[in-house]
Symmetry: C2
Subunit: 179 residues, 2 copies
């Protein structure tokens, strides 16, 4: 049994990562699994994880698969062992990039596409519209313009982060300029 203080720190970190996961739209269990792995120098098996977190093995199995798919944990082959072992991807910058790249990017692009289609639809329908509807269409176009600007901003921010290909130490990032 390890010291009290280590247990306390472990607990709050695991809980915090669960929270963070939930915040990013993942399941809390995924975050806790990641936290548990992150704080273990050695890789852990599914049974280890199920035992530590007191959840069913089935749940561990499914959630670990997701974590792997997101590039947040990696399977580790232990020779002579038949169990599956996992290790946390500890380069957080890489984790963030994985998630942003495969999820937020798509989301933003879809939004921009839908907005673009809306603009087209309104423009091409314009001469079939009553005077009243034309006014409303103009109003819609203004609002859609704002939304487009917002998503373009988001897109740019994403590309900037994703574009910095080097494994960037967070510590070295000191300033973000907008302008």
């Amino acid at each position: 049994m390890m010291h009290n203080s280590l247990t306390a720190v472990n607990d709050s970190t695991v809980a915090g990562l669960g929270r963070l996961a939930r915040f990013f739209g993942f399941s809390e269990v995924m975050g806790r699994l990641y936290g548990t792995l992150l704080l273990n120098p050695e890789p852990l098996s599914l049974d280890d994880l199920a035992g530590t977190l007191r959840i069913s093995k089935g749940s561990v199995s499914m959630n670990m698969r997701d974590l792997e798919r997101w590039g947040v944990a990696t399977e580790v082959w232990m020779r002579g062992e038949r169990k599956k072992y996992y290790r946390a991807e500890s380069d957080l910058w890489q984790v963030i990039r994985n998630v942003l790249d495969s999820r937020e990017r798509r989301e933003v692009q879809m939004a921009l596409q839908v907005l673009g289609e809306s603009v087209e639809k309104l423009q091409s329908a314009n001469d079939q519209l009553s005077a009243e509807d034309q006014e409303l269409a103009k109003y819609y176009l203004e609002r859609i313009d704002d939304l487009q600007a917002f998503f373009e901003f988001a897109q740019m921010a994403l590309e900037t982060v994703l574009g910095s290909q080097e494994t960037l130490d967070f510590e070295t990032v000191t300033k973000i300029e907008i302008g």
Copy 2:
């Protein structure tokens, strides 16, 4: 009844904002209410909203209160009217800032506080630890360092966005520099 194309655009925009709201951890209904208001030149009453979105008045009442609390919609007094009317805050930049300021900021600060406490706890317990536990504590401190760096990065990004007090046109934002 308005033209077909207007209805289609309205629908997809409202749906999209519902999606966006969900993405940011709000209820989908909040997003749809905001969308409906955003696409209406005139303020709408609770009954208008309930009717348009086909949801109960009770739900509209509660969700609109939340939207107001987040600074995303505003009540509008219509003289001679006893109904409550709402208008969307249409400055998206302002909406973002409201949300980031009252929610993400706290979240990040709490995380940093917990992490700081963890570091203290580990350091002050260090001489009571067995050799083995000391090694583990060292490992924990490395992981915690990474997490701190991540949250400090997030904090800085937030402050940057929140710091730009002028009502910034998204269009004018062309570049984010990291370095």
